[in-house]
C-alpha cells in the first residue's frame, strides 16, 4: 500500500501541497488530474523522495520516505518515469536499464541484461539495445525510460506527465504501453493531461487544485454528472481540456 498522509510541501511562501492524503492499493491505477501548478508533479516528487516534506508522512509498503534509513527501501518499491525522460546520455539503452539492477539490486550482469533485452522487446525496441539516447526519438526515449523503471520490478510505477513532451504520434506509442501495463495489473500513479486515456485505464481519479486534493473518486463516478462533474472546478477543467 502507498499511503500519503496530510502532506504539506512549500517552496518559500508558496504552498504547493496543502494537506494531501491519498491511498493507492496494489493493482490500482490512480490518475492525478489538475491544472498546471496544482501540485501534481510535486506529489510524485514527494513520493519518490526527491522533495522533502514540510509536514505529513508518506509510506511505501510501510517504509517511510521521510526517514533517511527507510528511504532506500521505499525507493526500491517505486519506479519513476519522467516527463523529460532523464536517460543517462553516456549509456546505451541497455546500460540505462541495467545500471540500477546491477548496482543497487546486485543482480548478475547476464541476468540483468537478458531481462533488459526482454523489456526492450516488449516495447518494440529490440533493435535499439546498443543505441544511445541521443539517437532515439522522443517516443523511443520514453519507452526506454519506462523499461528502466520496470527493470527494478517496482511495486508502484510513478508516471510524471510522461507524454507531455511528445507529439501525438509518439504519445500514442507510449500510451499503448501504459495501457498494456495497466491490463497486466501494474500499480500506477499517473499524472497526466491525457484525460480520455486516463478515463480508459484508471480505477480512480484524483483532482488537485492549488495543492489541495478536492476529490478522489472511482473513474466512472468522477465523470458522472452527480459525481465529479457536480464540482464546478472539475467541470470547468474538463470542459476546457476537452475543447483543447
Amino acid at each position: 500500500m502507498l499511503i500519503v498522509e496530510n502532506v504539506v510541501k512549500a517552496f518559500g511562501s508558496l504552498v504547493v501541497l496543502d494537506g494531501v492524503s491519498l491511498t493507492v492499493k496494489p493493482g490500482e491505477v490512480v490518475t492525478i488530474l489538475g491544472s498546471s501548478g496544482s501540485g501534481k508533479s510535486t506529489l510524485i516528487r514527494c513520493i519518490n523522495g526527491i522533495e522533502k516534506l514540510d509536514a505529513g508522512r508518506i509510506t511505501v509498503d510501510d517504509f517511510d520516505v521521510t526517514k533517511p534509513r527507510e528511504l532506500a527501501e521505499a525507493r526500491k518499491r517505486s519506479g519513476t518515469v519522467f516527463q523529460l525522460f532523464n536517460l543517462y546520455p553516456h549509456m546505451t539503452a541497455l546500460s540505462n536499464i541495467t545500471l540500477a539492477p546491477i548496482e543497487v539490486l546486485k543482480r548478475p550482469r547476464a541476468e540483468a541484461e537478458a531481462e533488459a533485452r526482454a523489456l526492450l522487446a516488449s516495447v518494440g525496441l529490440e533493435d535499439k539495445v546498443d543505441v544511445y539516447p541521443a539517437q532515439l526519438s522522443g517516443g523511443q526515449r520514453q519507452r526506454v525510460g519506462i523499461c528502466r523503471a520496470l527493470a527494478m520490478k517496482p511495486r508502484y510505477l510513478l508516471l510524471d506527465e510522461v507524454t507531455s513532451a511528445l507529439d501525438p504520434e509518439m504519445t500514442s506509442e507510449v500510451l499503448d504501453i501504459l495501457a498494456k501495463l495497466a491490463r497486466d495489473g501494474t500499480t500506477m500513479v499517473f499524472v497526466t493531461h491525457e484525460i480520455e486515456f486516463a478515463r480508459r485505464i484508471s480505477d480512480r481519479i484524483v483532482f488537485l487544485e492549488k495543492g489541495k486534493l478536492i476529490t478522489n473518486l472511482p473513474t466512472a463516478e468522477f465523470f458522472s454528472a452527480a459525481g465529479g462533474l457536480a464540482l464546478p472546478r472539475v467541470a470547468q477543467f474538463l470542459s476546457k481540456m476537452q475543447k483543447a
Binding site: N48, G49, I50, A72, R75, K76, S78, G79, T80, F82, L84, N86, L87, Y88, P89, H90, L99, A100, E103, V104, V131, Y132, P133, A134, Q135, R148, M152
Partner: protein, 223 residues
C-alpha cells in the same frame, strides 16, 4: 645569412633528449593536474562550505600569480625553510598545481552543466551518492570537458618551457645550450618552433579523437 639546418645534426641527440623530457614532464603534469582538478572541482561543486572555500581559494591563487613566480617560490624559496625538492619534481609539481587550477574550472563547469533531471533519475533508482558520482556525474562531465581540458594540456606543454629557468634541460633548456654552443640561435629556434608546433598539434588531434569517442552517440555535426 642562410638557413643551414645541417649544422644542427651533431646536436640531434641532445635536442631529442630535451624533447623526451618535455614529454615526460607533460604526461606527468597532465595526470597531476587532471587528478587535482577533479578533486578540486568536486570540492567546489560539493556540499561542504569549508571545502568549497579552500578549493576556490586554491584555484584563485594559482590562476592569479605568474607561473614563473610560483616556480621560483617552490625552487628557490622553499629551500630557505628547509624544503629541498629536485628540479624535475619541482617542475612537475608546479605545473600540476597550476594546471590543476585551470582543470578544476573546466571540470566544475562540466559537472554544473549536467541536467538535474538526470541526477534525480539516478537518485530515485536507489544508487548511492558515490555511485552516482563515479558512474553518472564524472563520465558526463568528462565528455563535455575533454576539449577544454585539451587546451589546458597544451598550455602545460607550452608552459613547461619555463622550467628551463630552474636548470631543467627539457627541450627549451637543451636548445639554449645548443644555441650558445653553435652561435646559431636562428636555426636552433626555428627547429624549436617546429617541434613545439608538432607536439601540440599531435596532442590536439588526440584530444579531438578522444572527444569524438566519448561523444560517439551525438550526431556528427555536433562534434
Amino acid at each position: 645569412m642562410r638557413l643551414d639546418l645541417s649544422l644542427l645534426i651533431p646536436y640531434i641527440g641532445l635536442l631529442a633528449e630535451g624533447a623526451v623530457m618535455t614529454l615526460e614532464i607533460a604526461v606527468l603534469s597532465l595526470a597531476g593536474s587532471v587528478v587535482l582538478g577533479m578533486v578540486v572541482a568536486i570540492a567546489r561543486a560539493g556540499k561542504s562550505a569549508t571545502m568549497r572555500r579552500i578549493a576556490f581559494f586554491y584555484a584563485d591563487v594559482f590562476r592569479n600569480v605568474p607561473f614563473i613566480v610560483q616556480l621560483f617560490f617552490f625552487y628557490y624559496g622553499l629551500p630557505e625553510i628547509g624544503i629541498y625538492i629536485d628540479a624535475f619534481t619541482t617542475g612537475v609539481v608546479a605545473l600540476s598545481i597550476a594546471g590543476g587550477a585551470y582543470a578544476s574550472d573546466v571540470i566544475r563547469a562540466g559537472i554544473l552543466a549536467i541536467d538535474d533531471g538526470i541526477l534525480e533519475a539516478a537518485e530515485v533508482s536507489g544508487l548511492s551518492r558515490r555511485k552516482i558520482f563515479t558512474l553518472i556525474v564524472l563520465p558526463i562531465a568528462l565528455r563535455t570537458s575533454v576539449r577544454p581540458l585539451g587546451s589546458v594540456l597544451i598550455n602545460i606543454i607550452l608552459t613547461s618551457s619555463v622550467l628551463s629557468t630552474i636548470t631543467l634541460n627539457e627541450l627549451t633548456g637543451q636548445a639554449r645550450i645548443v644555441s650558445s654552443d653553435t652561435f646559431r640561435p636562428f636555426e636552433v629556434y626555428v627547429v624549436l618552433l617546429a617541434v613545439y608546433g608538432v607536439l601540440t598539434y599531435l596532442v590536439s588531434t588526440g584530444v579531438s579523437m578522444l572527444h569524438r569517442r566519448l561523444n560517439r552517440d551525438l550526431q556528427p555535426e555536433v562534434n
